[in-house]
């Protein structure tokens, strides 16, 4: 009888110890993962920022006013008048 109780107690004790170790290891894992998450998150943010900056740069270069000035001024381009336009149809 008492041997059985002792057995149960041992098992319970073992479980408690195992769970305690489990908690510690889970916390440790969560810390490691959180650090990883933070690193990846900031990498993602940096890439997004870079993308935003590039978009901005592209938009600045492609600004209509600038395009028009270069096209008309430096390249001497003009809009075709109707006489120079050919309508293609089936």
């Amino acid at each position: 009888m008492s041997a059985r109780i002792a057995g149960v107690m041992t098992i319970l004790l073992g479980t408690v110890v195992a769970s305690a170790i489990g908690v510690v290891s889970a916390i440790q894992k969560s810390r490691v993962l959180f650090v990883e998450l933070t690193r990846l998150g900031s990498e993602r943010d940096d890439l997004n920022f870079e993308f935003g900056r590039l978009q901005l740069e592209q938009a600045t270069w492609a600004e209509n006013n600038r395009i028009e000035q270069i096209a008309r001024g430096r390249l001497g381009m003009v809009s075709p008048n109707p006489a120079e336009t050919v309508v293609l149809r089936q």
């Binding site: 969560s30 810390r31 959180f34 650090v35 998450l37 933070t38 943010d45 997004n48 920022f49 935003g52 900056r53 978009q55 901005l56 592209q58 938009a59 600045t60 492609a62 600004e63 209509n64 006013n65 008048n81 109707p82 006489a83 336009t85 050919v86 309508v87 293609l88 149809r89 089936q90």
Partner: protein
Amino acid sequence: MKRVKPANTRARLYAVAMVLALTSSALVVRAVDLQVVRKDFYQEQGDQRFLRDIPIAVSRGTIFDRNGEPLAVSTPVDSIWANPVDVLSNAERLPELAKALDLDEDDLKQKLVQRSDKEFVYLKRHLNPDDARAILKLEIPGIATEREFRRYYPNGEVMAHVLGFTNIDDRGQEGLELAFDDWLAGKPGAKRVIRDLHGQVVENVELLREAQPGRDLTLSLDRRIQYLAYRELKSALAEHHATSGSMVILDVPTGEVLAMVNAPSFNPNSRNGNDPANRRNRAVTDVVEPGSTIKAFTIAAALESGKWKAHTPIDTSPGTLTLADGRTIRDVHNKGLLDVTGVITHSSNVGAAKIGLTLTRDHMYDVDHRFGFGEVSGSGFPGESPGLLPIAKSWGPVEQATIAYGYGLNVTPLQLAQGYTAIANNGRLRSPTYVKGAQNPDTAVIDPEIAATLRRMLETVVSAEGSGLKASITNYRVAGKTGTSRAASAGGYDNRHISLFVGMVPASKPRLVGVVVIHDPQGAYYGGLVSAPVFSKVMDGALRLLDVPPDNVKNWFTAAPENPHTIDAKPPSSEDVELSNFAEGVP
């Protein structure tokens, strides 16, 4: 020293044991007190010394135009902040710091001393991240950076009014930035970190709240059309020495705003040096008396009443009409006997007033109201004006006659565009929307037959005998209406004018509606002379950009009609190609 044998060794042993027991139980009690009873307090005190909950900044969503071009982009910047006490305790480094920040040393010191009871003060906000890193490298105690975002508008003044702007904390203050602030802003997260003596983050401990970055927004605006409208409006203002102007272009099938510009404009990338008056989006916040442009709706009511048909004659001679209160309405020229279409073609005030007086005031009010006048358009733009349409009960015969030709009521340029879009859209009204692909149901406001009749009448305006010839566009049929009204000022009308033009193209199957309003032109001031040419130039470009086919491709007009101007391309052998395949987006 004489060695004495202790009298009672046992008693002394007890005494020592007792002291030891007391001491150790005192230690245990103290330990329990610290570890159990007052644990929370000490834990908190400890945490306070190195744990910090810090916000995770999130970037605001990007705003795109309908073709995916960025219109407003947030980029990260760093703000330098200081703990005044720490900085002041290393006062010998102040000159170095002031130099790095490009601030005056005395000002900096004063600022720090004033805030020395605080733990946080911004020294300089929105620095380029590289510059901020250079300052951090100096390793001045008490100096740290915070990530923030700054908004850039690559299209500057062209888009300024409709987009609005954000404040230094990246919250929307005006325009669509304000209207969609919740959508764009996102929610800052929070994380718990360990900070060292200098305020630098040593370790991330846990995530308290995940950051939700702002969502992107795709507008219905088209950057290219917007630019075109702004350029033409601006040059028209310069040419006519006008004070201000607005232009709105709506897409007829969807009610989407393709362009909305105002001049003069402002630079949204700079927070200072802008005249606040120039920041108003006049196209939705400012009202004008619509003048002759309202006649389309008067005629709509007349046609709906059944008393008038498109060719019912009406005598407008002698070109004047005296109202009950003794005021006289005048036409520019006496056109004599016209029909209802002629009243629109020649923009006869007398004709419109006479027709208006045959209708009931409730019916006229109802028609104007159905077309959206006197109500905010539902576009959701902050600060939008509902205009003013006086309630029918307040109308006497004088009011009825004046409203019939466009005075005594106020509309915004956007409302005018909305009303004409309903005519263009077979009598179905839609709230204008700034969001591409938004759910936007329409409601029938007038019979499709009447809308078609109105379009035919409006087409006669843009002809050799009409008032809007200058709105014509090569190869496209234009339907529209000119308008000229006097600017109202306190206590009456002064000698300033407002020139208007509203039109739709292509008239046979309208795709675009445009409104041009120009305030206070000098010299010529008729809408047909000042605003109509702007309409023509902008719409010509917009039709090309959107690949809208002409009303009749076969009749493509060229400057040299004797040349073969239309060539038949070889029909594709395998598949049939329809003209609609060349709709927007396909080169």
